[in-house]
Symmetry: C3
Subunit: 329 residues, 3 copies
């Protein structure tokens, strides 16, 4: 039986974290409040409460990712959990076992959560239906990347003091960006305005009803926050894309940034292509919150792991109690 434990968020009932599209504003705030409380553990080497002691988290990364994988690992270990790294390249996937079979197998060894990154849209959702433990989406193709959007929201709330009434530009490769989609879903719940900015080829066939613009200079004067998206060169083979033109139109330079609202902040999910999405001056300048985003990422993932596993524990307990009642008759 999982250990009984007073939850810090009694109303949180999600065992899985799959995307921001179907989360409520209140749920998002619950994550952010909890993450806020964890920030000093990350920034000041303060010991964290071992709320996930004796728990096991599987990092099931089927696509390369240094940052997100590292961040989830740091988050889980800081709360006392063990993390098992699954490297798709050296795994039994080579023996043609399906991902679901592999995951269910490792789950039978005793798992509390699976963090999954996968190249297929919806893979985390299919996994969540096949296992009993918690599933956290660490990015599924161009669909969702919920912990990234939550860390962006925490960063913005810490730096700008609020989540509503803001104007946020998502600049660049919006069409290929799960980061953009998740942020759009997140900020839309808080009466903030999200403008997707980029060349027409990156705005075509968007599957969210976002405001769009092609002229960055015209949009900047209204922006409280500018989130530069990563140009994913590896995905542009089939798209006409000229990097010099892109830089001329969309690179965030000190001159362009000077046109944004006073105190506007610059975000980037990383890794930055320096000299493409933004210049070194902007990346390392006083308005850049890029490294603080990384710090917030660990705190947000601590909160997400703790909340989801807390909900899992409650489900396990109620199932155990039900089984006991069934036996009694």
């Amino acid at each position: 039986m999982p250990r009984s434990k007073k939850s810090a968020a009694p109303n949180w009932t999600r065992k899985h974290l799959l995307g921001l599209e179907d989360m409520t504003a209140q749920e998002i705030l619950t994550v952010l409040d909890r993450a806020d409380a964890y920030l000093p553990c990350v920034t000041q080497a303060r010991p964290c409460p071992p709320t996930l002691k004796d728990r096991t988290v599987l990092n099931l990364f089927c696509e390369d990712s240094t940052r997100t994988r590292t961040s989830f690992t740091f988050a889980a270990e800081r709360l006392g959990a063990r993390v098992f790294q699954f490297h798709a390249a050296t795994s039994s996937l080579n023996k043609k076992e399906s991902l679901i079979d592999t995951a269910r197998n490792i789950e039978a060894m005793g798992l509390d959560a699976i963090v999954i990154r996968h190249q297929e849209r919806g893979a985390p959702h299919r996994l969540a239906e096949a296992v009993a433990c918690s599933v956290l989406n660490a990015g599924d193709n161009a669909h969702e990347h919920p912990t990234q959007a939550l860390l962006d929201m925490l960063t913005i709330r810490r730096r700008l003091g609020r989540l509503d009434g803001l104007t946020l530009a998502l600049v660049g490769d919006v069409r290929h960006s799960r980061v953009a989609r998740s942020n759009f879903f997140g900020f839309s719940k808080f009466a903030s305005r999200v403008i997707c900015v980029g060349p027409p080829v990156f705005l075509q066939a968007l599957d969210v009803k976002a405001e769009t613009a092609t002229d960055l200079g015209a949009v900047l004067p209204e922006c409280d926050a500018v989130m530069m998206l990563r140009v994913q060169f590896e995905r542009h083979e089939s798209v006409q894309f000229n990097v010099d033109e892109y830089i001329r139109g969309y690179q965030l330079t000190p001159a362009r940034l000077a046109r944004a609202r006073p105190g506007a902040i610059v975000l980037h999910p990383g890794p930055v292509n320096r000299g493409v999405e933004l210049t070194n001056e902007v990346a390392d300048g006083p308005q850049s919150v890029i490294l603080f985003q990384t710090t917030c990422g660990v705190a947000v993932r601590m909160a997400c792991l703790e909340l989801c596993i807390g909900a899992l524990d409650r489900e396990r307990r109620s199932r155990t109690a039900q089984a006991r009642r069934d036996r009694r008759g």
Copy 2:
């Protein structure tokens, strides 16, 4: 000096676990009883006693293995040990150092046990002669895979209530199977009958004196447990093997399984080739204990690590005491 600790198995004297061939029935029962006690730790996220705290285990896998490596890792960490993963591909083996030199070198950093999987028969035995710490065989070619057989035995004892007087079919690629060999050695010590079933090409030149049969349908009515072996396609280049013929003759289907004894269970060491060794209906059906095998695997490996390191501690203590006597006198 290793910490003194009351052992739960005072008669256990094996420092190494190399194979079932030379283990006694009593030793096997000692492992299974201990593993039984650990099962709730695996299935119910109960905290385990940290009996291997401050111990270090080296996972020395010279062949791919997700499951066994993961299972040993979970087992050791659950008891509080640290596990160091040695990846043969990125190691100094590339600099032509011998495996023994590598192992002795890491042992000099302070090791309690080495878990080894190796493509050469007898490699764990040679390693055990070269190091002072415990060595556990995690599979050496087609020779032995003792913890797999022990987990199969625990699974069967839990589900069928006993280890003796049973009839067990090992179906398929018996000749290439260390799993079959170790199970044959194990069950032979308990007055259970083991029948190796497969096409003649898989039964030729068996080096154990097992009963064999080529007609699965004729054997099934006597079986309490059917263990489907993995078809190891990667090893069949030199053997005439037709997968369609194999499926016609040996795939476990619901119709075939219906002919086995009432309550018969289906085992598979994994990873399953779905649609080859068995159908989805059987793999996911009520008689399948495949996922429970995985759970038992962690408990068995906890028991093996604890027992072997316990014996190592007693050896270290007696060597220290002897050295003290030698100095005095």
Copy 3:
């Protein structure tokens, strides 16, 4: 705020460990004394004080290294720290992010130390300028490998009782050896004599003012310790090098070793090319301290991590105090 903790070495002020060239004799002794106290933890499975509990160390290895990486991992974990392994091959370096950006990013997740091995001379020094946490050099090209030299010094002090007044031969590929350079810097501070011995091609263009010799037989009678350097076949493409000639002139055989001073010891940083630098009889003989070097390596790295992170803590505390004073005005 980092936890306050009484330091065992109040005069140690180095946050980074980059090389022996600029360390004082007193600093070297501080490391060796601390390491000495840790040796029983390594050799006797004694629990270590968790002085680095809740700390995170990043192993940033951009070149293959089983031993050094393993040794740093064991050292950090033995003191209670978490170690995150960064594999350059699977990291975002592939996405062309610079090493500095990667390191600063992971640092923002909460790091106390980075252990770096890099193929470029000076890479650890450049990293140390870019991050706020501690940086330990685990080998930068043919420049320095300070923890290797410190473990050699600990080995020699334990076996020969002192560091001064000794004669030490560094035999072989001196020109490509960071081990030789760091040992030269280390022993030079203790009035010991270091002789670099090898064929002329390996002694050319040495950038340290070391005594050199080409005739091993002539040098051995003066030697208290003979350190055989690894022939790095992978680096010799551009150099004329004949392995048979090398063996005839420089392989340490029992006959040659018999000419050294009574009680002389044989060191090798590993991995040994058996049959090249030395024969099996010498490698496994009573004068070989090769495995003891490995044991000393863990103790030395425990000391280095603890001392550097201790200095980092003092720097963090004084910065926090300064910030408080600044706010008060």
